[in-house]
Symmetry: C2
Subunit: 166 residues, 2 copies
DNA sequence: TTGTAGTTTCAAAATAAATTGAAAGTTTAT
DNA sequence: ATAAACTTTCAATTTATTTTGAAACTACAA
């Protein structure tokens, strides 16, 4: 397999995979392209490489910035904007964990807490309670696990930071 | 909030949440309904409760069985099939972890292993290698974490099993 | 100002995914 | 065998999501 083929395969695979999670193809492919590019790229560059429209590129680049996965880079003397991906993959994982936690875990916790509070009189409501309690536990576990990832890396970064001043 | 309201809220919330993961609304709502039902339910029952078509119910009940989240139950003297959900929420979590691992992690590992093998000559291909190696690490971590969930519960089950013969 | 290079927005079009419903298929009882 | 009760399948429809492209907007330069 040549480098070009490998590159295409990666971009393509990443796009397909992302669809299974809630992420759209363009966004995943934009991320893939920027991840493996040693240079910052302009909107025009990525549009051409992925054969997508200007609007699509613009919107998804913004979403990627909202997720904290890519950054704008201004080149001196250049009018247009360039984009560069966060290259520390653990930081990428941390960002994704953070976002997913915020979007997916937090709202469930809130609803479950609310639903755990209903009275248990009938057999149906007792069963309901049991399920809510069980789900609460599982969700807490997921939440703690994600937090561990997020915090572990933060602590590691903090460690590196402190070394400098030792 | 009355019990009926809580029930509706749970079913509705679960359906919405599921969409963010790759699961469709009907499947999630069917699961929710069966989870909180103390009794096994017929296809007709769930169709009526969720106001969905026979075909939709049939297909999604099958998918839920494929995921190992619900079971068929035959009632003596009854011709039609009844469905009951796996009520051990940790077992549910374990099943979901297993399925997602199989569908989402395994294929990525394969592609990454293949892509890690390309030659590193140009600056571009060196960068590419770095990214692939980094992703490999992260994916391995996710894989190990999921496995820990899966195995922890299996060991626990195995422990319970062995107790009987002690 | 006015023009130019660039970015963002958003209604409309294209694409993808979920759902329906009726026909075909199964199983059991008579 | 035939019918009745029930389940599955799948082409057609509906719904939801993604993508396009051109107009509106912004920032800068002459």
């Amino acid at each position: 397999m040549t480098f070009e083929e490998a590159k295409d395969k990666f971009i393509h695979t990443w796009g397909t995979l992302a669809t299974q999670w809630g992420i759209n193809r363009s966004m995943a492919q934009l991320h893939a392209v920027l991840l493996i590019s040693p240079e910052a790229m302009s909107t025009e560059d990525v549009m051409e490489q992925l054969q997508i429209s200007r609007g699509n590129a613009s919107m998804n680049l913004r979403d990627l910035m909202d997720w904290g996965l890519i950054y704008k880079q201004l080149k001196p003397g250049e009018r247009r904007e360039f984009f560069i991906a966060e290259k520390d993959i653990w930081k990428v994982a941390r960002q994704v964990a953070k976002e997913r936690r915020r979007r997916e875990i937090t709202p469930v916790v809130e609803v479950l807490d609310e639903l755990k509070a209903i009275p248990t009189d009938t057999p149906e409501s007792i069963e309901f309670q049991r399920v809510m309690a069980g789900l609460s536990n599982v969700v807490s576990f997921a939440d703690n696990t994600l937090n561990a990832v997020i915090k572990a890396e933060e602590n590691w970064l903090m460690g590196q930071f402190l070394k400098v001043f030792r």
